[in-house]
């Protein structure tokens, strides 16, 4: 089976486990075990080749664009890790079946565990760095899920978030590093990268890459100063802790260091950063572990410490140090996993993990106690156990360290000190829990754990002992291939033996044990001393930091996006002002080459009136009624300007739109306050004045620059083709209904939607209806002035005739559907004013929604008709017919299109008015009482 099956099988297993809710616990566990066992079999199947020094590959070409491929490899290092991941994984699965109480969901835990296992397997087997990162992030996610397994506990949620944040940050750094690395080498394939160590180290990006990748590794493997997430991850169920913190999650960081060792290691900076970080972590972890009263806390810091130890080893500039590191990876995994499991049993059976309560457990659970003591001894580095072997190798290698120059002697000293503390906390683990008097207030009556719950521990302890006694037999070969994978082929000569004779490392071991015993015996004083130190907890820093960041963000956002429309508008306008204004200064001359028209009286008066109207609108803007009158002047003058500059169609349109707009504004004014209070400070007014003046100057200048220069435009085409191609002499109208009919279709759609939207806005709206005007006058009694009512009836047919006139001539002379529609609408508005909406609604029995839809539909069908002739949408058609008596008559599809425009305009305007009319007509009583909108 190909390598990619390994993660695939565990993924499938994860899915299967998640659906196993109906199975019994034993069945669930059994089903779950299938996937890792198969995966293990696959790995073992390839193991002989690996032991022969080969690397097994499996490559699927995938994203060439990104250089991401599905690429797996199995070399010594990978094999070692897969065995650890799968082996300890199986034990944890087995153990969890007994650990988890009935009310917790076993399938959920198993699904997450297998997902996590997949991620880990993916990391260690990746041959593509991006793929590696993929699985790396997957471990972050799945560990988040595992840590927050008991999600109703605040501790679990916080711990999970912290773990995810820290490892996520590292993951992003790692990604950056890997991308740069890939760019240096030109490939994301690991074998290429690993073979290009020299090229990488000579690259100018080497330092940056290294730091980024190390950030990834250090955060994951909880190196100082990123170590603080790990103790809080202990909120997870203990099997999870056992898995994550012995063999997997934290080891991923170590794996990364080992994996990239050939590519990145061997430089001063590598040794300096890695070894110093490892050393610091080693010391801090060992020291703090002693003071943790929580068993899992102790183990957590011990884990940190041991990870520091491995890191330090990888940072020491000798090949044997690397071998020692790998050896310790194995050893740590075994004894730490068993210790966690033992802790789980203690927790499970007593209900607490507090060492101040736990005493004398030996009496209650001798088997567990024995197992735990063996493991703890291994952790302390007691001879005949595997921990001793690797620790002694470690001591030996510290003696060769050169990296601190003349101060290099510090390293073995500090290492011994750390060893002493590790002995001390191991001693505490043994003595404080299993001996040391009687238990205090235990929640449960303790007793020995179920038989099978101890099995995984027994297996692990057996390994500890076997490795400790017969190292060559058991680990030599795997250690050999793993080391050669890290050191790229150069297999160092190493010899693991229990006895090397009396030498310095042995002395260091002895010192450590002695020191440890001394420290432990002085623990009372140490605890007191520790209590006087300020508690510097990474967790609080993280949480407070997060709080500070969050509240800072909230403050900034509420300052920035403060809900003030004025601010948003002013930002927009200022942006415009800047970017439209700046290029004006680049121009040499604003005025272009065209001969300007002379100013005549006509223009002067028109300009005067327009400016007066505009300025008056601004001056009176707080007296809204007057402002409305003033803006009417502007509208009128704009249409006069259109008339003046040869745009009769525009003038007509502007006029009709103007009136309908004013009517709408007045309707609005009725429901709005009549006057605007003075609100803006004078500074603000000044600011607004400056900005608006600026806008005026800029736009005016652009306008002036444009109108004074010659234009080479496409418009001649329209003039030439209007009659021959569009069948009309009014070029503007032909553009509207033919050349650019698509715009017009969109435009009437807009109008229709606006009407629908307005209906929507006003539907069932409770409104405030003033019973007096702004000066407190009651409204006049006469609703429908007599003379007006009479005349408006007379005017209606007249207005309709005029709109028919304007409609029909539109194609050839100024006019058209839109203007005609607005004229009709205005005529009906007059009826509304004169007779009121009830009167109209009794007589005008149309459904405006349908009218609007039909109008647009007419235009649409007119355009779609050309499909019948396999012509593009809106292809126009016209022809001249000789009708008897009438003479030569033109029929054009554009007329139908224009009819659609007409119908839509009438429908939309009427719908708006009818919606507004409905507000007040339905319920006259409302106008008497002031009902401010309250739903």
């Amino acid at each position: 089976m190909a390598l990619f099956w390994v993660p695939l099988i565990t993924t499938i297993g994860s899915l299967i486990s998640s659906r196993a809710a109906k199975l019994s616990r034993n069945e669930t566990a059994a089903v779950t075990l299938i996937a890792p066992l198969i995966a293990l079999a696959v790995c073992l199947y390839h193991a002989p080749a690996v032991f022969n020094g080969e690397t097994v590959y499996d490559h699927i070409q995938w994203l060439d664009v990104l250089g991401i491929h599905l690429s797996f490899r199995l070399d010594g290092l990978s094999l070692l890790f897969t065995l650890l991941i799968l082996g300890i994984g199986c034990l944890v699965i087995f153990y969890a079946r007994y650990y988890l109480s009935a009310k917790d969901s076993l399938p959920k835990l198993y699904a997450y565990l297998l997902l996590f296992m997949t991620a880990m397997l993916g990391i260690v087997m990746s041959n593509n760095t991006i793929q590696l990162w993929f699985f790396w992030e997957l471990t972050s996610i799945s560990s988040f899920l595992l840590i927050s397994y008991w999600s109703d506990k605040a501790e679990a949620r916080k711990g999970a978030l912290m773990a995810l944040s820290i490892t996520g940050a590292g993951g992003l750094a790692l990604l950056a590093g890997l991308l740069i690395l890939g760019n240096i080498v030109g490939s994301y394939q690991l074998d290429v990268i690993l073979a290009s160590g020299d090229m990488i180290k000579q690259s100018q990006w080497y330092e940056l890459t290294l730091v980024l990748i190390l950030l990834g590794a250090f955060t994951k493997s909880a190196q100082f100063p990123f170590h603080f997430w790990l103790p809080h991850a202990m909120a997870a169920p203990t099997p999870v802790s056992a898995y994550l913190h012995s063999a997997t999650m934290v080891k991923a960081g170590i794996f990364l260091l080992a994996r990239f060792y050939p590519a990145l290691a061997g430089t001063e900076i590598w040794f300096l950063i890695v070894s110093l970080t490892g050393l610091t972590t080693l010391l801090i972890g060992a020291y703090v572990a002693l003071f943790k009263h929580d068993l899992k806390g102790l183990l957590a810091y011990s884990t940190i410490s041991h990870l520091g130890l491995i890191t330090l080893l990888l940072g020491l500039d000798t090949e044997l140090a690397t071998v020692a590191a790998i050896f310790h990876i194995i050893n740590h995994a075994t004894f730490k996993a068993s210790l966690f499991m033992a802790t789980g049993i203690i927790d499970h059976e007593t209900g607490t993990r507090d060492m101040r309560k736990l005493n004398g457990m030996w009496k209650f659970m001798p088997f567990t106690a024995t197992l735990a003591m063996v493991s703890a001894a291994s952790m302390a580095g007691v001879p005949l156990l595997n921990g001793f072997l690797s620790k002694e190798m470690f001591f030996a290698e510290t003696l060769h360290a050169q990296l601190l120059g003349s101060m290099s002697w510090l390293i073995p000293v500090l290492a011994t000190a750390a060893g002493a503390f590790s002995v001390a906390y191991s001693a505490r683990f043994i003595h404080d829990v299993f001996f040391n008097g009687d238990p205090v207030d235990l929640p449960k009556q303790p007793h020995e754990a179920p038989r099978y719950m101890r099995v995984p521990i027994e297996i692990l302890v057996a390994i500890c002992i076997l490795v400790g006694m017969f190292p060559n037999l058991i680990v030599d070969s795997i250690l050999d291939v793993a080391s050669s994978a890290v050191l790229t082929g150069a297999t160092p000569v190493f010899e693991i033996a229990l006895w090397h004779g009396f030498n310095l490392p042995l002395l260091m071991s002895a010192l450590a044990v002695a020191g440890g015993v001394v420290i432990y015996s002085l623990r009372k004083h140490l605890f007191q001393f520790q209590a006087t130190l300020p508690a510097l907890e990474g967790r609080y820093m993280f949480e407070q930091g997060l709080d500070v960041v969050l509240s800072w963000c909230q403050k900034r956002i509420s300052q920035f996006e403060n809900g003030s429309l004025q601010r948003y508008t002013i930002v927009l306008i200022a942006t415009v002002l800047f970017f439209a204004g700046a290029p004006l200064f680049d121009m040499q001359k604003l005025v272009g080459g065209n001969q300007p028209h002379p100013i005549d009286m006509f223009n002067a008066v028109g300009t005067g009136l327009l400016i007066a109207g505009a300025v008056a609108t601004v001056i009176w803007h707080r007296h809204r009624m007057i402002a409305l009158i003033m803006i009417s002047i502007v509208g009128l003058m704009v249409s006069v300007a259109f008339t003046r500059f040869s745009a009769p169609d525009l003038a007509l349109t502007q006029l009709s739109v103007e009136v309908v707009t004013v009517v709408l504004l007045m309707l609005a004014l009725f429901f709005l306050p009549q006057k605007t209070p003075k609100e803006s400070s004078s500074i603000r007014v000044l600011r607004d004045l400056m900005i608006s003046t600026g806008c005026g100057v800029v736009v005016g200048s652009i306008c002036y620059a444009l109108v004074t220069r010659p234009l080479d435009s496409i418009s001649q085409f329209f003039v030439e083709n209007a009659k021959t191609g569009g069948g009309g002499t009014n070029v503007v109208n032909v553009i509207l209904v033919d050349f650019r009919g698509f715009d017009t279709l969109g435009e009437i759609t807009v109008l229709g939607i606006a009407a629908l939207g307005i209906y929507k806005l006003l539907n069932n709206l409770p409104l405030f209806m003033p019973s007096t005007d702004s000066e407190g006058r009651k409204w006049a009694r006469e609703k429908y002035p007599l003379l007006l009512a009479t005349i408006s009836q007379t005017l209606l047919p007249l207005a309709l005739l005029v709109s028919a006139f304007i409609f029909i001539r539109g194609h050839n002379l100024p006019g058209g559907g839109f203007i005609a529609g607005l004229v009709t609408a205005t005529a009906i508005i007059l009826q509304y004013i004169a007779h009121g909406s009830n009167w109209i609604n009794d007589r005008l029995l149309f459904n405006y929604r349908k009218i609007i839809a039909s109008g647009v539909m007419i235009a649409f069908i007119c355009g779609a008709g050309s499909f019948l002739f396999d012509k593009p949408f809106l292809t126009s058609w016209f022809d001249y017919f000789d009708i008897p008596l009438v003479g030569k008559t033109e029929l054009a599809s554009a007329m139908i299109f224009d009819l659609g425009v007409y119908v839509t305009v009438v429908g939309a305007t009427m719908m708006i008015l009818a919606s507004l009319g409905k507000l007040t007509a339905n319920d006259e009583a409302k106008s008497e009482t002031k009902t401010i909108g309250a739903k």
């Binding site: 009694r781 006469e782 609703k783 429908y784 007599l786 003379l787 009512a789 009479t790 005349i791 009836q793 209606l796 047919p797 007249l798 309709l800 005739l801 005029v802 028919a804 006139f805 029909i808 009826q831 007779h835 009121g836 009167w839 007589r843 005008l844 009708i883 008596l885 009438v886 003479g887 008559t889």
Partner: protein, 173 residues
């Protein structure tokens, strides 16, 4: 006068206006005008309340000419009043009792008054709050504003004889 041809006078008027608008007497325009002249009143019929119809068209045309003439003189009079010194003007509100109650004749009278010498119709009393109904037979008054009132009684008399009486006669009410 039926459903399909509700207002012949309106139709004729519309046709004339149509031809005026198009400046054309071609058959096509007449045809189109006729179609419109017939179809528009059908559409607007619901919006037209029942008004008394013109009983004496000839008199109506004569009255129209009278009013046009009066408009010209009125305007010249008013122009002189405007240009002349304001201080000598004697503005006044005058209430003219009406013999008519229907909306259309009153409207016509009020319009005539507004267009003719120095007077502007201001209000029709009594004010009705809702829609005007023709079966309401309460006596009505026309309030007018006079720019320069010489003799109130004479003015009322003049309005009643010169304008109101012919309108009453035209509509036969």
């Amino acid at each position: 006068m039926n459903r399909y041809f509700p207002a012949p006078s309106t139709s004729i008027l519309l046709l004339v206006i149509w031809l005026l608008l198009n400046n054309s007497l071609s058959f096509g325009q007449v045809l189109l005008g006729t179609i419109l002249a017939i179809s528009i009143p059908i559409f607007t019929r619901p919006f037209t309340e029942q008004n008394p119809s013109v009983k004496r068209p000839a008199l109506a045309i004569k009255q129209l000419l009278v009013v046009l003439l009066d408009i010209i003189t009125a305007n010249i009079q008013v122009a002189i009043l405007i240009v002349g010194p304001n201080k000598r003007l004697r503005p006044a509100f005058v209430k003219v009792p009406l013999d008519m109650t229907d909306a259309l004749p009153i409207t016509l009278l009020a319009s005539t008054v507004s267009l003719t010498p120095g007077t502007v119709s201001a209000e029709v009393y009594p004010i009705s709050e809702e829609h005007h109904t023709s079966d309401n037979k309460t006596p009505r008054y026309l309030l007018i504003h006079v720019l320069d009132l010489q003799d109130e009684a004479k003015l009322i008399e003049q309005i009643k004889t010169r304008y109101e009486a012919p309108i009453k006669e035209i509509f036969g009410c």
